[in-house]
């Protein structure tokens, strides 16, 4: 992310964190939008196992559900946990479990194809 974008994001956070009433309203609207998105994605997720056996293969179901789960987790971290408005260093710290995940996947692949 460029410095310019970071500055814009920080301004948005300042507006939302107690500046103007308009900014507060837009932050509240943003939170409700994220909440509704999470709810809808959950309904979609629950619906997938109902239809997959007839329409999709197990791998498609697994990839789709995994993608949806990480997308939802990303929304929570980005907006509810305010990572969108934090400096890059804090974001790198927050991504630590992902580095571990990559390392574990590499170890698993190495074991499988040894």
């Amino acid at each position: 992310m460029t410095d310019q974008t970071t500055t814009t994001d920080e301004s948005a956070a300042d507006a939302g964190h107690g500046g103007h009433a308009e900014g507060e309203q837009s932050m509240r609207g943003l939170y409700i939008t994220i909440f509704l998105t999470l709810g809808l994605l959950t309904v979609f997720e629950v619906y997938i196992p109902e239809v997959y056996s007839a329409a999709w293969s197990g791998t498609t179901k697994m990839l789709l559900l995994t993608f949806l789960a990480f997308a939802k987790a990303g929304l929570v971290a980005t907006y509810f946990m305010h990572l969108k408005w934090e400096k890059p260093w804090l974001r790198w710290i927050a991504l630590m479990p992902i580095y571990m995940g990559v390392a574990l996947i590499l170890i698993m692949l190495e074991t499988m194809y040894r």
Partner: protein, 217 residues
Amino acid sequence: MDSGHVAAADHAAPQTSVPEDPHFGKASGGKVGMWIFIAQDGMSFGGLLFAYGILRATATEWPVPSDILGIALTAIATFILICSSLSMVFAVEAAEKRDQVGLVRWLMVTIAGGLLFLGVQVWEYMHLVHAGIGFAECTWEGETVNSLFGSTFYAVTGFHGMHVTAGVIYLMCILRGAMKGKYTQGGTSSSPVELVGLFWHFVDLVWILVFTFIYLL
């Protein structure tokens, strides 16, 4: 109107008291510390979920989770946790606006969500144990199933349940302070509310992953 300006000035005081860091900006030491804790806790959950995946992938027989676990009930519990995340965001917002009534109300809603989630989990555990799904031995409708199904299920969801319990206790401690006006009076910092919020959202985030990997896949 004047009192409004005074309140705004009080609000600004703690925000500017944190020195700007070249790497972490306005983030307080507490916030950086909480994020480091969350990252390492995330790795704990990651390790458990990876272990679950490897055990399941290498097992000769594994029951279809949705045949045994109540997906509809857990989906409702998931939704309750997402609702409590929204109320937590509103609590943090109220603390930053020095709105004590709003802060107390939204913290109470968040705690209620956490307790409701725990209630559903306890009910689910009792139902599963009665049906034959134990930690070390598993039977379902008279047939023996892989005992690792029960072991991994209780280990992962139990570890998460303990986080929810810790989160509820943490929230109750913050609520006690909020009732005394500890985070909303002039000159005080709303940072502790933001920190408990980070932990609570993390508990919600982890459940989103646990719900998918343990229940739906």
